[in-house]
Amino acid sequence: MIRVALKGLAGRKFRAALTALAIVLGVAMVSGTFVLTDTIDKAFDSIFVESYANTDAAISGKAPDISFEGDTAETPAVSATLLERVRELDGVEAATGTVIDETATKILKPNGKAINTNGAPSFGFGLDPAQSQFNPLKLVDGTWPSAADEVVIDAGTADEQKYGVGDTVRIGTLKPVRPFRVTGIAQYGSVSSLGSATFAVFTIPTAQELLEREGQFDAISVAAADGVTPEQLVSTIEPILPSTAQVRTGLEQAEDDASEISEFTSFIRYFLLAFGGVALFVGAFVIFNTMSITVAQRTRELATLRTIGASRGQIRRAVLLEALVIGVVASVIGFALGIGLAYGLDWLFGVLNLDLPTTDMIIATRTVVVAFLIGIVITVLAAFVPSMRATRIPPILAVREGAELPKGRFSRFSPYVAGALIVISLLLLARSMFTDELDIGDRLLTMALGVLLLFIGVAMISPKLVRPLAAVVGVPGEKLAGVSGFLARRNTLRNPGRTASTAAALMIGLALVTFVSVLANGMKESNRGAIEDQISADFVVTSQDGYTPFVAGAGEAASGVAGVELATSVRSELGKVAGTDKYVTGIEPDKIRSVYNFDWAEGSDDTLATLGSDGAILDKGFAEDEKLAVGDRFELLSGSGRAANLTVKGLYKPPPFYPLLGSVSISKERFDTLYDRPRNQFTFINVPGDPDAAREKPLAAALASFPDAKVLTRESWIQKQDKEFNQFLIMLYVLLALSVIISIFGMINTLALAVFERTRELGMLRAVGMTRWQARVMIGSESVITALIGAALGLPLGMFLAAMVTRALEQYEVRYAVPLAPLLIFALIAVLVGLVAAIMPARRAARLNVLQALQYE
């Protein structure tokens, strides 16, 4: 029996290969994800381990424990005098102080524009090269800087921008742009690429000046004398530290730093795995479908096996064995492809300017095990129903021509099962979206399960929908392709179940792209609405990436431009407000009303004048959560560790989708006393007349010394954000394209099997006057109709899911706006998918030898 199964498989190599491909891509995606994220993790790990290789104890400022939506409060500095006191301690072999800043240092490209790190750090360091044992950086060329106008830059930047030792580079910091001479090129330990991150190394005094750390260090690294353990060292240092500083062993510090990053890589991992999961799910559909058809076509062969004594169990095992072999082969290929895909994904992130640091590829045992397990298990599971169907073939079919397979005992229940699945899926979706107490992981899992069941339910019910849908989507084909289109539509109705499950595979991909497209469109509209509602300024200055705060000096420079009617900056930092971590903004009460429209709940624009140094205006929603009313007092703890007692002066309702100000706004003057190195989130500018190019030019010129800042009109600001949304969308599309491609394999398979099955019929058609072209058009139309059924199911499903999520995000006022153009494009893509899938089967149908086809059994 095993031989029969394997021989049978060998006889249908091409089909088996096509079937295997369906699961290969999913396996590749999953293993590629693991390889990529493991590699990134390893790269970061080595960065941190190497950073603290010779550091037994690390001293840093102690930031208040404030974090909001992934941002944490900036760590304060420690006094430089501390270094001398540490050096004098017993048990200290050596110590060095460093200046480290992650955002302010911007290296300019030769064309004068700042390198955009897209959220990755742009480090500025001040190091003591004499204390080389603490230095995580390694020179690849040149020497360390020794003068105020000297710098060492990272190898990645030097490479990309073609900077070499001796060249002049312009670098912006908290101070305006200055030229520096490159004395060396360095890399971070053994890590050759830092991804999009950059660094510039200055002498310590220079760094202290540029990064506003005069008389201060961000970190002090300490090495223990012989015989002193790191723990002993830590307890020696602790007593001399001020309350604003802390000391930890180097190992603790490295682990702490690494754990932050591994949260980030595990986000990437789950994000990509989700797409791998979708690909596997679609692949399972394809395998289920192909195996079902194969079993149906082998009815006579399987019935013959029964007549010569094969048991039902043997038949079932033979089919499952076939699936097992396909699964194993697919896993092997998928795994190999996954390693290639890891490079591909790395490249994809690179194209989107989200480069991630990497070292040599890490292939963990876990990756191998998972890849093989899912590849094999999913294939065999998908083959289970077809294998049960095979056991129902009675021996009599060995001798009777063209009999239909008897229906299963439970098949009459399938509409009810489908209905029940849809109901359950809707309940799950509702639970995930409309119950408040779920945590995010639970919520996402419930949602994924709901969507999964919804797809299965719709796929099960879709055979009933094939007839009406084919009647609609088949019309254009009949108009265009005449009798071939007519025959094609009838062909799709011959076996609605088969058509439906072929279409369902495509439906999944199309539903998901529709979902993200509709949802993103709604978000873009909400975003635009939120900005337009709040802002009436002509121009806005933001950082290059749009969300990191920028150097305050840039705002002042822009304000000083001749012809500016009004300019006002908005500071922003994290703070603990009445015990809750939130963003705090500093505003200029006399000016902000000209550029920002407050939707007052309590108070008016005149309230702003009463703000004073201890007044605050609050987001109404936040105030309600904290039970704060106008006149109440509350405490604000700044990220720099200073506290203030404030009074609520007014409440306003910002658009929840994109509130531009923090939950708490105080006067800019007070803000600057509470925070070290205060930075701007925005600087808004009004000019007399229209905000045209002539007005923009001098503003841009004034910002030339502040490479991190840029000026935009309100409209181009919105458009820039749209563009960023679109970029993210494109990445989602690329990842979802994988599942669409898999469904193409399914369609090719179904069509090829159909052509094979209808050989004699095609011979007859040709004999009674069908041309080759008509045969081709017939198969092509059948394919397009199937694909359009997939679109007709998928597009509304995607729109429905988007509507549901929009409803769940009601509190953020996400709009529901169906974008017509993308949906039309998706429908066109479905047509294209149909045409592509039909190429090979249609050619086969057209090339059939009429005589042989007629004699074919």
Binding site: G482, R490, N491, R494, R766, A767, G769, T771, L851, L854
Partner: protein, 251 residues
């Protein structure tokens, strides 16, 4: 109105000139047809008989432009087949050839009527309603038009197939063992129907069969053995046919 089947006048509708057909090469080569010449006369039912391996199927495939001879040539309605492209052959099939198969070969997803008019649909022509109505009445399917093949008996399916072969009023209809898959009673009815069609429409028809009873319905009976015509009878009774087969087989 379409003209009467071509060649209804004097000349033959199909001719074969010294056709031979060789399968395989070298030592294993088999000559299915060995220099056979033949005229099919218009308006008649011609039966082709012979033991298996005599070349009767090959002959029909070549006459019907499904296969080409190794040497010699065939003309249909005066057009010489041979160097024609697939497109031109398809055109000839549409205009001049009708097929009736042993296993009916209907499209399962089409109704009886849709199956009948299929050759016209493929050619992009509209059926002549008067003729179609008459044809459907004659084949006895008036009340079965909306049925699918799976809802029809074997005899009814073959009637649909006959109507399909006649609907484009081709020069010649080829029937390959048209009763081979039917019980004798139904087979008899189908033979009557074929005869009637020849008489009523002056339809030229070539039927390959191994049943003496079927051949007896023909106006001319060709006996094949070893790729040659060994006997050409102008109609015969069942008994005479059986004797002739015996003779031919022993020869």
């Amino acid at each position: 109105m379409k003209s009467e089947p071509a060649g209804n006048g004097a000349g033959p509708v199909v001719t074969a000139h010294e056709i031979s057909r060789r399968y395989g090469e070298g030592d294993t080569a088999v000559d299915a047809l060995a220099g056979l010449s033949l005229d099919i006369e218009p308006g008649k039912l011609t039966a082709v008989m012979g033991p298996s391996g005599s070349g009767k199927s090959t002959l029909m495939h070549i006459l019907a432009a499904l296969d080409s001879p190794t040497s010699g040539y065939v003309t249909i309605a005066g057009t010489r087949l041979g160097q024609l492209s697939d497109k031109d052959v398809t055109k000839i099939r549409r205009q001049h050839i009708g097929f009736i198969f042993q296993f009916f070969n209907l499209l399962p997803m089409l109704t009886a009527e849709e199956n009948i008019v299929l050759p016209l649909s493929l050619a992009g022509e509209k059926p002549d309603n008067a003729f179609l109505g008459d044809l459907i009445k004659r084949v006895g399917l008036a009340d079965r038009l909306t049925h699918r093949p799976s809802e029809l008996s074997g005899g009814q399916q073959q009637r649909v197939a006959i109507a399909r072969a006649l609907v484009s009023r081709p020069t010649v209809v080829f029937a390959d063992e048209p009763t081979g898959n039917l019980d004798s009673k139904t087979g008899g009815e189908i033979l009557e129907l074929l005869q009637e069609s020849v008489e009523n429409y002056g339809q030229s028809m070539v039927m390959v069969t191994h049943e003496a009873r079927a051949a007896a319905a023909a106006a001319r009976i060709l006996f094949l053995a070893d790729g040659r015509i060994v006997k050409d009878l102008g109609g015969a009774g069942e008994e005479e046919i059986l004797n002739t087969i015996h003779e031919v087989t022993l020869a």
